[in-house]
């Protein structure tokens, strides 16, 4: 193998510019964080709403929520990116369509965030639904029998327990958001994967480039994991998670 190693490449200026390759990667990292965190926020809000609706006694609402989940869960993420970017604008009314195609600011970023957020919301919704359904049926009836309306019962009884129970599976979803955000390069978001490909072509130092990129993705996912673990410990339902019972103050 006659690969020419050059770990100093990150500090060298890019061809025909005054930035360094490190600047490129850090910009990409910034967009990755921006897309991922915005998409995650959206996925959490929509996912909790949709997951909750799936468990309500109202048949139309539950059916609507089920359709939502199936729609966003069953189409590959990459195809969804293209649909939102190329197909949806064509389906809009003429004026709006023109505006989206020509004048919308940060079009790639907004499209990628919307797409990733909706895709992830269907997965969050399924976790939330599973959490609510795992609660004993007496919890809902107990809330109602104590004079709470159904929305109040969700707010004060069912969701507080269900959401804490689904923190561990949501951790994986949170980590997935960072990894899935790499698909956004396909529609031209200047995120980490996009920048990595550009740096690799430009510098011809592919191994160093993707080593650095791997490390950055790993840091994102691992940080997400630690943050969720902290939330899990802080919000644990007393006595419900095995192995941590000693953490209780018994005095």
């Amino acid at each position: 193998m006659n690969y020419h190693w050059n770990w100093g490449i990150f500090l060298e200026p890019v061809k025909g510019g005054d930035e360094t390759y490190l600047d490129w990667l850090l910009t990409g990292f910034g967009w990755t964080l921006a897309v991922s965190l915005s998409a995650w926020l959206m996925a959490l809000m929509l996912g909790i709403l949709v997951g909750t609706l799936r468990t309500t006694p109202s048949k139309p609402l539950a059916a609507l929520a089920a359709a939502w989940v199936e729609l966003f869960r069953n189409i590959p993420l990459l195809v969804q990116m293209f649909l939102w970017f190329f197909v949806v604008p064509e389906l809009l009314p003429r004026e709006l369509s023109l505006w989206v195609k020509q004048d919308m600011p940060a079009k790639e970023f907004i499209t990628a965030t919307l797409c990733l957020g909706l895709f992830t919301s269907s997965r969050v919704a399924e976790q939330v639904r599973a959490g609510i359904e795992a609660l004993p049926s007496g919890q809902r009836m107990a809330g109602l029998a104590l004079g709470f309306t159904l929305p109040q019962t969700y707010r004060h009884v069912l969701l507080p327990c269900a959401l804490r129970m689904v923190v561990p599976p949501l951790t994986s979803e949170f980590m997935n958001v960072f990894k899935n955000s790499s698909v956004a390069f396909a529609i031209g978001v200047l995120e980490l994967t996009f920048q990595a490909r550009q740096m690799q072509e430009d510098s011809e130092q592919g191994i160093e480039t993707f080593f650095a990129v791997t490390l950055l993705y790993f840091i994102c996912a691992f940080t997400a994991n630690r943050v969720m673990a902290l939330i899990e410990r802080r919000t644990r339902v007393p006595g419900q998670m095995a192995g941590q019972m000693a953490g209780h103050q018994t005095t």
Partner: protein, 355 residues
């Protein structure tokens, strides 16, 4: 006006009728029990009263207000009916005090604290308010569930198999405790259970349910001593039927002697004007058959079970019929032995011969 008036309620899951034209009434402060095997519709009836199911026909009136009929359904949260569940359904993320105060959300903080303290006192857990449900024993959790249901002062309390998750010793003690707490609070309640000991320990009046209907709505004493149907006689307590021949409307001859009934017997459809010669199956409870060495009626011991204070003997008569007898346990007889017995039947209960 009764506190609760259930009038001709029916309910079905799909095509499966679960409750059939059921009616009963409950007075203020009264504790009733729906007793029956699983699948008899008793839990469904409780849910209909609570408002978790809608009846197909009939009406439910609470405190003079119609809460459910064919066109009207007052939602559960508006009915002010407390519920205690088999699995307690305490809220695991809230402390004991917050659980008990949960239904008081419209009151001021001070009022909530006072009421919670009052309820903690009532259930004897005064210093446990800050604990979480999982830190309490099953019996304590059940008492917290009771306090939580009682705290908002509901019109009526419903208890769904409330003791079935507890071990037997605790079950007996807690059922008496619960009755005591309900009586002190002057609370009307309906208990649902398949355990007759529980029903008899807690309730003033018991409805024996079968296939969605109430077969008899009566005091525990009458259910045991004056069962209205053969099913009730079978279901409640122990006993056997032996064949007897009617001599007059108030006397009947069985293998062990002549029984005098304090009320006229009804032989059933075959002979409305009951005359002689009609045959009835007569219910003999274990306490109706007395061991008496002086008696010249003898029976052979075929089985015995030791119950501490007494033996339950299974005895075979000359005809081959078997009866049960409850005998003080210092009378220890061997299997195969012949012992003297006589009848002491206060309430003669007979049903038409089953052909």
């Amino acid at each position: 006006m009764p506190l609760l008036d259930i009038d001709c309620i029916s309910h079905a899951y799909g095509t499966q009728a679960v409750v059939r034209e059921l009616s009963f009434q409950l007075e203020t402060g009264q504790i009733a029990c729906l007793l029956g095997a699983s699948g008899c519709g008793k839990t469904t009836m409780l849910r209909l009263i609570a408002g978790f199911e809608r009846p197909a026909t009939g009406s439910i009136r609470l405190n003079g207000v119609t809460v459910a009929d064919t066109n009207l359904h007052m939602p559960a949260e508006k009915r002010r009916i407390g519920m205690v569940f088999q699995d307690y359904a305490l809220f695991p993320h809230l402390s004991i005090a917050d659980n008990i105060g949960f239904g008081l959300h419209q009151k001021s903080t001070l009022e909530i604290r006072q009421r919670v303290d009052e309820m903690l006192d009532l259930i004897g857990l005064s210093n446990r308010g800050e604990r979480y449900p999982h830190e309490l024993s099953g019996g304590q959790q059940q008492r917290v569930a009771l306090a939580r249901a009682l705290a908002p002062e509901p019109h009526l309390l419903l208890l769904d198999e409330p003791f079935s998750n507890l071990d037997i010793a605790l079950r007996e003690r807690l059922s008496l405790e619960v009755r005591d707490i309900l009586k002190r609070a002057g609370m009307a309640a309906i208990l649902v259970t398949h355990d007759q000991n529980e029903a008899f320990a807690v309730a003033d009046v018991v409805g024996i349910m079968r296939e969605g209907r109430i077969e008899q709505w009566d005091t525990p004493y009458n259910l045991y001593h004056r069962p209205a149907t053969r099913h009730v006689a079978d279901f409640v307590g122990q006993g056997v039927f032996i064949s007897g021949e009617v001599l007059s409307r108030q006397s009947i001859k069985v293998e062990l002697g002549i029984l005098e009934s304090d009320v006229p017997m009804e032989c059933g459809t075959s002979c409305a004007e009951c005359g002689r010669g009609c045959r009835l199956d007569v219910l003999l409870r274990p306490d109706d058959v007395i061991h008496d060495d002086a008696s010249d009626v003898l029976a052979e011991v075929v089985a015995k079970s030791f119950r501490g204070a007494e033996f339950l003997y299974t005895l075979r008569l000359d005809s081959g019929a078997e009866v049960l007898s409850l005998v003080p346990s210092h009378h220890n007889h061997a299997i195969g032995e012949q012992i003297g017995i006589r009848l002491a039947v206060d309430h003669v209960v007979g049903f038409p011969n089953r052909q």
